[in-house]
C-alpha cells in the first residue's frame, strides 16, 4: 500500500473511514484508493455504506474516524464548499438546483469570491456558462431558468459546475436512474471524456450492465464494510452479486403450478389521441402479463387510462367479462382494480404520514365503518400487512418517508392488497430497489398470481419480464407491437419490438 512515485500516488486515499449516525455505525474502517483518470464504481445494496462514503468524500457528512489524503496531503473536508475548493464535486441523482434562477447563476452560485455586496458579473457569468456548455457539447440556453429543464440537462449543468471549479474528482450518485437510454449514452460519453482528461469519477449505480459498460474498477460495500476493490474485468456478474449480498442469489423463480383461469381484464381498441392508440389486451386470472417497451412508449399512459386516472377517449374495458366505464380511480378500485404507480415518491406515498395510514389509505371503508376511523382496526390491518410482506420499520407510526425505497414499495403493495384486487397493475415496481429486496418482491408477485389474481407488470428491465411473465406485450410509440408467449420472449425479440422502426407498425391484438 506504500506509494512510491508521484504518478502512482492515488488522487485520493481514504484510511479507516468510519461513520456513525445516532450511535449506529453505518461505515466501518474503509480504506480506499482512487487513481487519477479512472471511473470507479461503488456498488452495494441500499444502506451498504456506498453513498455515505461518497458523501464523506464530498463534505456532506464528517467521518467519525479516519483520514482522507488528497494528492498526498491530508485534508479535512468540512463542507461541500470546502470540497469544491479542493476540486471534489458531488452530483446528486436529482440534481440540487435553484429552479427560479438562471442556468448561468446556478453554475456559479457557491463560488466564494467577494463579500456580500460584491457585484454580480452578469455578462462574464453568462459568457463562462456558455463556454462550459459548449465544452460539454450540450445545447442549453444558459439564460433560461433552471425550472423545466429535464433531469438529464440538470445533471449536465451540475457537471458543468464541477468543471467550472476544475474538479479533479466528480462523484455521481446514481445518475442514470432517472435518465432515458439515450441520455445515459450521452452521460457516459462525457464521463469517459472527463476520465481521459485525467479526472477521476466515482460512479454509484445499481445497474451492473452500466457499471460494466463504463467503469474501470469497482469497490463493493456490504453492511458498512468495504468488501473488495477489483478491476471490473476480473469479476463476473455472479461474483459481484455474491459479494454484494454475501450469498449467491437464487435464480428468479417463475411461479409454478398456477392454473390460468378466465379473462379478468379485457381491453379493446383503447385510444387516447396523441398518446396511444388501438390498444387491445387481455389478462387472465392467475396470469402474469408483462408490458415492455422503451420509456415514453405510452405504457404508463395505458395503465393510467385503465385505472381511470386519465381515461382514454375511445375503446372498451371489460372486467370479469362485463363492460365497464372507468372514469376515476374510485370506480376502478370498486371494480377490483389496483395500480401501483411508477414514481412512488410523486404518486405513491404520502411521505409525511405514518406507515399505517399509508397502508390503509385505499380502504377507508374497512377502517372507518360509519365514517369514523377506528384506530384499532387500522392498526391491526397495517401490522398484519407489515408481517405478511416483511416490511422493515421501526414503528407503524413512523412517517413512510423514513423507510428505504424497497420497504416503501412493499407498503404501497400492501395498500393495494388490502383492497383485495382481481387485477393488479404494477408500474416499474422494482425501480431503485436493492437486489435482495427485489428477489423478495418477485416471490410476492408470484404468490399473488398463484392466488388467482391477474397481474399486468410494466417493466423496463428485460430480465424481470423474461423471468416472471407468462406473456410479454411490447409497446412502441403508443402502439402494441408484439405479443410474445413465454417461449417466444427473449431479450432480442422484446427489444426488436420496442425500438421504433425495427418492427412492423401493424397493431397487434393481444
Amino acid at each position: 500500500m506504500t506509494d512510491t512515485s508521484t504518478s502512482d500516488r492515488p488522487l485520493l486515499a481514504a484510511r479507516g473511514i468510519s461513520k456513525s449516525f445516532a450511535g449506529v455505525e453505518v461505515l466501518r474502517d474503509v480504506d480506499l484508493d482512487l487513481r487519477r483518470g479512472e471511473i470507479h464504481a461503488l456498488l452495494g445494496e441500499n444502506g451498504a455504506g456506498k453513498s455515505t462514503f461518497a458523501k464523506i468524500v464530498a463534505g456532506v457528512h464528517r467521518p467519525t474516524r479516519g483520514t482522507l489524503t488528497l494528492n498526498g496531503m491530508p485534508v479535512e473536508v468540512t463542507s461541500p464548499i470546502v470540497a469544491q475548493s479542493l476540486g471534489i464535486t458531488l452530483i446528486h441523482q436529482e440534481p440540487i438546483s435553484f429552479p427560479d434562477l438562471s442556468v448561468a447563476e446556478n453554475l456559479v452560485l457557491g463560488r466564494a469570491d467577494g463579500g456580500w455586496l460584491a457585484r454580480v458579473p452578469w455578462a462574464e457569468m453568462t459568457r463562462d456558462a456558455r463556454r462550459l456548455m459548449d465544452l460539454l457539447g450540450v445545447r442549453i440556453d444558459v439564460t433560461r431558468p433552471m425550472r423545466g429543464l429535464s433531469i438529464a440537462d440538470q445533471q449536465m449543468v451540475e457537471i458543468a459546475r464541477a468543471l467550472a471549479s476544475d474538479s479533479r474528482l466528480i462523484i455521481m450518485d446514481e445518475p442514470t436512474a432517472p435518465l432515458t437510454p439515450k441520455e445515459v449514452e450521452t452521460l457516459f460519453a462525457i464521463a469517459r471524456r472527463l476520465r481521459d482528461e485525467g479526472r477521476t469519477i466515482i460512479f454509484i449505480s445499481h445497474r451492473l450492465e452500466e457499471v460494466r459498460a463504463l467503469c474501470d474498477r469497482v469497490t463493493i460495500f456490504r453492511d458498512g464494510n468495504k468488501i473488495a476493490t477489483e478491476d471490473i474485468g476480473t469479476l463476473t456478474d455472479a461474483d459481484i452479486i455474491r459479494l454484494m449480498i454475501g450469498r449467491p442469489l437464487r435464480e428468479y423463480m417463475h411461479k409454478q403450478g398456477t392454473t390460468i383461469g378466465d379473462v379478468a381484464l379485457e381491453v379493446e381498441n383503447l385510444t387516447l389521441p396523441g398518446v396511444f392508440s388501438d390498444i387491445s389486451l387481455t389478462v387472465r386470472k392467475g396470469e402474469m402479463v408483462g408490458l415492455g417497451g422503451l420509456v415514453g412508449a405510452g405504457r404508463t399512459d395505458v395503465a393510467r387510462a385503465i385505472f381511470g386516472v386519465a381515461p382514454a377517449a375511445s375503446g372498451t374495458i371489460k372486467v370479469n367479462g362485463k363492460p365497464v366505464t372507468i372514469a376515476s380511480p374510485d370506480a376502478a378500485i370498486a371494480l377490483g382494480l389496483a395500480f401501483v404507480p411508477e414514481d412512488r415518491a410523486v404518486a405513491g406515498i404520502f411521505r409525511t404520514l405514518p406507515v399505517e395510514q399509508n397502508i390503509t389509505a385505499a380502504v377507508p371503508g374497512k377502517i372507518a365503518p360509519g365514517g369514523f376511523i377506528r384506530g384499532a382496526v387500522e392498526k391491526a390491518l397495517a401490522s398484519d400487512s407489515v408481517n405478511k410482506l416483511r416490511i422493515r420499520l421501526a414503528s407503524l407510526r413512523q412517517p413512510i418517508g423514513e423507510l428505504s425505497g424497497g420497504n416503501q414499495q412493499k407498503a404501497i403493495l400492501a395498500r393495494w392488497l388490502l383492497t383485495d384486487p382481481t387485477v393488479l397493475i404494477l408500474d416499474e415496481p422494482t425501480r431503485g430497489i436493492d437486489i435482495g429486496v427485489k428477489a423478495e418482491f418477485y416471490d410476492m408477485i408470484g404468490e399473488l398470481a398463484a392466488s388467482g389474481r391477474a397481474i399486468l407488470l410494466i417493466s423496463s428491465e428485460l430480465p424481470e419480464l423474461l423471468a416472471l411473465c407468462d406473456r410479454v406485450l411490447v409497446m412502441s410509440e403508443g402502439r402494441l407491437t408484439a405479443n410474445l408467449s413465454r417461449a417466444e420472449a427473449t431479450q432480442e425479440s422484446i427489444m426488436h419490438a420496442a425500438v421504433p422502426g425495427a418492427a412492423s407498425r401493424q397493431g397487434v391484438a393481444a
Partner: protein, 328 residues
C-alpha cells in the same frame, strides 16, 4: 418575435395593461381621473406602501412573510413622535435615524425568532404584530402625538417639491425602489436571497449563510417599516397609537403579490412590485371619486385585488399555452 414573446410573458406586462385598462374605465365615467392632479393624488397614496413593499418583497422572495410591518411602522413612528414632542431641541432629521433604527431592531428580533427557534415566520410575525402594537400603546400611554409636535420641516416633505411639483416623499420612495433593484440584481447577497427562497434545502450546500440572509431580510423589512413610520408622520402630521400603520401589512402584501412576487419564494421583481403598488394606488384613488361610500370601499378594494390576481393568472396561463402551441 422572441423579444415580443419575452415581453408578453413578463408578469409586469400584464399588470401594466391592467393599470391602463382600469384608468381608462374609470376615466370614461369620471374624466377628471385622467388628469395630472389625480396622478398626484395617486402618487401621494403610494410612497409608504412602496417602501414597505420593497422590504416585504425581499422577505417573501426568501420564502417567509412579515405580518408585523404595520406594527413596526406604528411603534417606530410613535417613539420618533415622542422624541419630537419631549425633546424638541433635537435636530429633526435625527428622527430618521431613530425611526429606521428602531424598525431595524424590531425586524431583527423577528429574524432572530425565525432563525434561532426555527419558528414559521407567519406565526412569529403574527405574534409580534400584536406585541409591537401593544408596546406602542404602552410607551405612548395610548395618547396620540398631535400635529403641533411634528416638526413642520418634516411635514413639508410631503408637500414641497424639488422639481415638477412632485413632493420629496415620492422621490424617497422611488429612490428606495432603485436601491432595492440594485441590491437584488447586482449584489451577491441579493441573488442569495433568491437562491434561498428558490430552494432552502440546497442553499446551505452552496455555501449560502441561510441564517444571516434570513436575519438580513427581516432587518431590512423592519428598517423600511421604520422609514415608512417617520414618513407617516410627515404625510399625515400626527401619530396615533392604534391607527398608525394598522392594516399596512394587508396593503403591502397585496401589492407585492399582485406585483408577481411568488408566495412560494424565489420569484419577484422590483418593477412588478412597483406596478403592483401603483395599481393599488389607482384603485384607492378611484373609489372615492366614483362616489363609492366609505363603508363599501374596503370590500371593493379586497375584491379588486382578487380580480386582479385572477385575471393575471388566467391571461398568463392562456398566453403561455397559446405560445407553446404556436411553437409546437
Amino acid at each position: 418575435m422572441n423579444l415580443l414573446r419575452n415581453i408578453f410573458l413578463r408578469r409586469e406586462a400584464g399588470i401594466a395593461v391592467m393599470i391602463v385598462l382600469f384608468c381608462i374605465a374609470v376615466g370614461a365615467v369620471k374624466p377628471q381621473f385622467l388628469t395630472l392632479d389625480s396622478l398626484r393624488i395617486i402618487l401621494l397614496l403610494t410612497p409608504l406602501i412602496m417602501i414597505g413593499a420593497m422590504g416585504q418583497m425581499l422577505v417573501i422572495v426568501a420564502r417567509h412573510v412579515d405580518l408585523s410591518i404595520g406594527s413596526m411602522l406604528g411603534f417606530s413612528a410613535m417613539v420618533t413622535g415622542m422624541m419630537f414632542k419631549f425633546y424638541p431641541e433635537i435636530w429633526w432629521p435625527v428622527g430618521f435615524l431613530v425611526s429606521i433604527g428602531i424598525g431595524a431592531a424590531l425586524g431583527l428580533l423577528n429574524g432572530v425568532l425565525v432563525t434561532l427557534f426555527r419558528l414559521p415566520a407567519i406565526i412569529v410575525t403574527l405574534g409580534t404584530l400584536n406585541l409591537y402594537r401593544g408596546l406602542t400603546y404602552i410607551v405612548s400611554n395610548a395618547k396620540q402625538i398631535d400635529r403641533q409636535f411634528v416638526p413642520s420641516a418634516l411635514k413639508s416633505m410631503s408637500q414641497t417639491s424639488p422639481i415638477f411639483g412632485i413632493p420629496w416623499i415620492i422621490f424617497i420612495s422611488f429612490g428606495i425602489g432603485l436601491l432595492t433593484y440594485g441590491f437584488v440584481m447586482h449584489t451577491r447577497v441579493g441573488r442569495q436571497i433568491f437562491a434561498l427562497g428558490s430552494n432552502p434545502i440546497a442553499a446551505p450546500l452552496r455555501g449560502i449563510a441561510v441564517n444571516k440572509v434570513t436575519l438580513l431580510v427581516f432587518t431590512i423589512s423592519g428598517a423600511l417599516s421604520g422609514l415608512a413610520g417617520i414618513l407617516y408622520a410627515s404625510r399625515w402630521g400626527f401619530v396615533n397609537p392604534s391607527n398608525t400603520g394598522s392594516g399596512f401589512e394587508f396593503q403591502v402584501i397585496a401589492a407585492v403579490v399582485i406585483g408577481g412576487v411568488s408566495i412560494n419564494g424565489g420569484v419577484g421583481t422590483v418593477l412588478g412590485t412597483v406596478l403592483g403598488v401603483l395599481l393599488l394606488g389607482c384603485v384607492a384613488a378611484a373609489l372615492p371619486l366614483l362616489g363609492i361610500p366609505g363603508t363599501t370601499q374596503s370590500a371593493i378594494y379586497g375584491a379588486v385585488i382578487l380580480i386582479a390576481l385572477l385575471i393575471d393568472r388566467t391571461v398568463r396561463q392562456q398566453g403561455i399555452a397559446s405560445l407553446s402551441r404556436a411553437r409546437a
